[in-house]
């Protein structure tokens, strides 16, 4: 038996901001539709020909980026708005956890608000009276229930709203990203409540960004993107497809960022003669070694005086130039990598005249500015011979054992004493993804060993290393 059925549902909204209220009003009055008389550029499709079926008792996950139409879908099922085209069928009493405590009046007490909210959600006053204690207990608000809700913290407010909505005893529960409210223990309680609903054969339509929740909890899922459903069916598969797409988009985004960075012109600094004493091993230096940069007699004040306070940028004399930097994964150029996977930093360089004093270096920083790793050819005791014309430098990492996060990259070529030929400061960004949510910076390759009396349940989310 179907609980919710959407057949080719389309929802068109008016683009606000075009000042055509008369047109909207006229078309609403004449045709009952707000958008029929609007020109195409004045409307947008929040949902476009979406069909889905939710079986009674099923838990159905809806995922997608912000603005993909998830909430519109819930609103249509809840009956808050009507579809522009197509049919929405819903069998059973719906309770929508879309905005918790939407009907609360700030001036009156929690107790009175529970009653009012309950009536709004379709209970009779007697029914609420019976469940009142349970609601208050669930919301953990025994001490504050007589206070006006304007004195509540936002968490308390949400908890009360959630408690009322969940005690309406609906056949269909619509949940829109509400688990973000409340603390850890309350979230767990909500999950328990959902599980209880599921056991009792209620239908749940769940919109969430918590992908693991969809994988664990839902029987089926749909991925919406730009109002269209891109994948539907088994939650694990849908989540995987979605994640792959996210990665691709991130990659594209980082690629454009990089393209922007690569266009940065090289800031010419002091002619070789003016080169003063500079840091040794500037690329890998700690803060205490960084101050000397300012002693360089440079004629361009755009050069950061303290390289650790420095933002992204590019400077150097240009004797050797890094013309292009490419990050590569196992399948060619990439910006998103996986913990434990390979990464190559490929630099195309050019030296107009032969140079015999040089060192190439790289440095990886986490998003909060911690240097995760840095090295250069000089530190690794490679004696510079000569460098001339076009060339390529590849820094290959077999296993990128960084934990999940966004990282920035410095690449540089400089004299052994630190004088920069071409310094690219934090110009390149890459993301590291991991199925394991471990913390820190670095993931050593590791194993756990246990004696026989310590057992773990079979789990499918073990380390993927």
């Amino acid at each position: 038996m179907l609980s919710i059925e959407l057949e080719h549902v389309t929802k068109v909204y008016r683009r606000q901001g075009t000042r055509r209220q008369f047109a909207t009003l006229k078309s609403a009055l004449l045709t009952g539709s707000l958008v029929r008389h609007l020109r195409p550029h004045e409307t947008f499709h929040a949902l476009n020909d979406v069909s889905l079926k939710v079986l009674k008792g099923a838990s159905y996950g809806v995922l997608g980026r912000n603005g993909s139409g998830k909430s519109t879908l819930l609103k249509l099922v809840a009956g808050i708005t009507k579809p522009t085209g197509g049919i929405v069928r819903v069998n059973g009493r719906v309770s929508a956890l879309i905005e918790l405590g939407a009907g609360f009046h700030p001036e009156i007490s929690g107790r009175e608000n529970v009653f009012i909210n309950g009536v709004m959600l379709g209970l009779s006053r007697r029914e609420i009276g019976k469940r009142f204690d349970e609601i208050v207990e669930f919301a953990e608000l025994e001490d504050f229930i007589e206070a006006p809700v304007k004195t509540y913290s936002s968490g308390m407010y949400m908890r009360l709203g959630f408690a009322v909505a969940i005690h309406v005893n609906p056949d269909i529960l619509l949940v829109d990203e509400v688990l973000a409210v409340g603390d850890e223990s309350f979230s767990l309680k909500c999950l328990d409540k959902f599980a209880e609903f599921k056991r009792r054969g209620k239908t749940i339509l769940l919109v969430t960004h918590g992908l693991s929740m969809i994988e664990r909890f839902c029987d089926e899922a749909v991925w919406l993107e730009g109002g269209q459903n891109l994948a539907i069916g088994d939650p694990k598969r849908v989540v995987q497809t979605y994640l792959a797409d996210i990665e691709q988009a991130e990659d594209k985004h980082l690629a454009t960022e990089d393209a922007k960075a690569q266009r940065d012109p090289l800031i010419e600094v002091g002619k070789p003669a003016a080169a003063g004493p500079a840091t040794k091993n500037a690329v890998t230096s700690g803060p205490e070694e960084s101050r000397e940069i300012e002693t360089e007699t440079v004629d361009d004040e755009a050069i950061p005086t303290n390289m650790f306070a420095a933002k992204e940028g590019r400077w150097g004399s240009g004797s050797i130039q890094i013309e292009k930097v490419t990050l590569e994964g196992d399948k060619g150029p990439a910006h998103v990598f996986h913990t434990g996977g390979p990464m190559k930093i490929r630099m195309r360089i050019n030296a107009v005249r032969p140079v015999d004093d040089f060192a190439f270096g790289i440095s990886i920083f986490s998003s909060d500015g911690v240097c995760c790793y840095g090295t250069n050819t000089d530190i690794e005791e490679m004696q510079a011979g000569s460098c001339e014309g076009d060339g390529e430098v590849v820094f290959a990492i077999d296993r990128l054992d960084l934990v999940e996060g966004t990282y920035k990259l410095d690449v540089a070529v400089h004299k052994r004493d630190g004088f920069s030929y071409d310094y690219h400061r934090l110009l390149y960004t890459f993301r590291v993804k991991s199925r394991t949510k471990d913390v820190g910076v670095y993931r050593p390759i590791h194993s756990w060993y246990f004696t026989d009396n310590i057992r773990f349940k079979q789990s499918d989310n073990g380390s993927d290393d």
Binding site: T24, L29, V94, V119, P148
Partner: protein
């Protein structure tokens, strides 16, 4: 539309609880609390009486004694009417959260606006009665039976207008500001502070088209003027006009209903 109208009746529990909420929230945090429902009309009356007997003394000129009672007969229902309309025009926008986020029958919101102002009106009645008793104004029971009908006609008319305004204000926020000024004009264009007899002939003809003038005159004839209730023909005509107004207002509201969640 008719089935929707029937729904309106089904929601009476919700209307009731929302009216209670409105009344409770109104005076929450004030020292006098619910007493304001009595004090407010009293103070309003004092102000007008002061203005029109001391500052601009014309009550005696027009042979309206006691002026306070005459004034109150029109002022009290006018307050109900005008507050209902200005609340009604805002009610969908103020409760936008309910309309956008919850399955909520929007039409009960203007009803709540009109009903909670009706309650305030009813709270003002004891003060009016006290004045009638104090000034020993003679009341005829045969006239008083008209009172509930006048009330009902005013209710239906006000509700129709409130629904219309509520629905239109969602699309045009200008109505809020327009309405405030329009109501001031309407107040002075209605025989509330002056009697109908003070008007020139042309004004009287114009007054026939002012629905609230008929209501005010009805209240005045029933409670203030001596002699039989002579305005009943007009009242019956107004009943029909009120019903038409209500159906129009409700029809418009119903037609625009689906737009609220998107435009609020």
């Amino acid at each position: 539309m008719l089935s929707n109208l029937r729904q309106l009746f089904r929601y009476r529990g919700l209307i009731q609880i929302l009216v209670m909420r409105e009344l409770k929230a109104r005076y929450r945090g004030s020292v006098l609390g619910f007493f304001w429902s009595f004090v407010n009309p009293l103070l309003l009356l004092l102000v007008y009486t002061l203005v029109f007997t001391v500052i601009i003394p014309r009550g005696e000129l027009l042979d309206l004694e006691p002026y306070a009672v005459f004034l109150f007969c029109g002022l009290l229902p006018w307050t109900w009417f005008s507050s209902s309309l200005s609340d009604g025009a805002n009610v969908l926008i103020i409760n936008g959260n309910l309309i956008k986020k919850v399955m909520f029958p929007a039409e009960i919101l203007p009803v709540v606006a009109v009903v909670s102002n009706l309650i305030h009106f009813l709270f003002g009645l004891p003060i009016l009665i006290a004045f009638l008793v104090f000034y020993a104004v003679p009341l005829q029971p045969s006239e008083l039976i008209w009172f509930p009908l006048v009330l009902l006609v005013q209710f239906i008319l006000t509700l129709g207008l409130a629904m219309m305004l509520a629905a239109l204000t969602v699309h045009f926020r200008d109505i809020k500001d327009l309405l405030a000024n329009l109501l001031t004009l309407w107040f002075f264009a209605t025989p509330i502070i002056y009697p109908m007899s003070a008007l020139p002939e042309a004004g009287k003809v114009l007054m026939d088209f002012n629905p609230f003038a008929h209501l005010a005159i009805s209240y005045q004839e029933i409670l203030f003027y001596e002699g039989p209730f002579g305005h009943w023909k007009w009242l019956l005509a107004l009943t029909i006009a009120g019903l038409v107004m209500f159906l129009l207002g409700y029809g418009l509201f119903d037609r625009l209903r689906d737009s609220f969640a998107e435009e609020v």
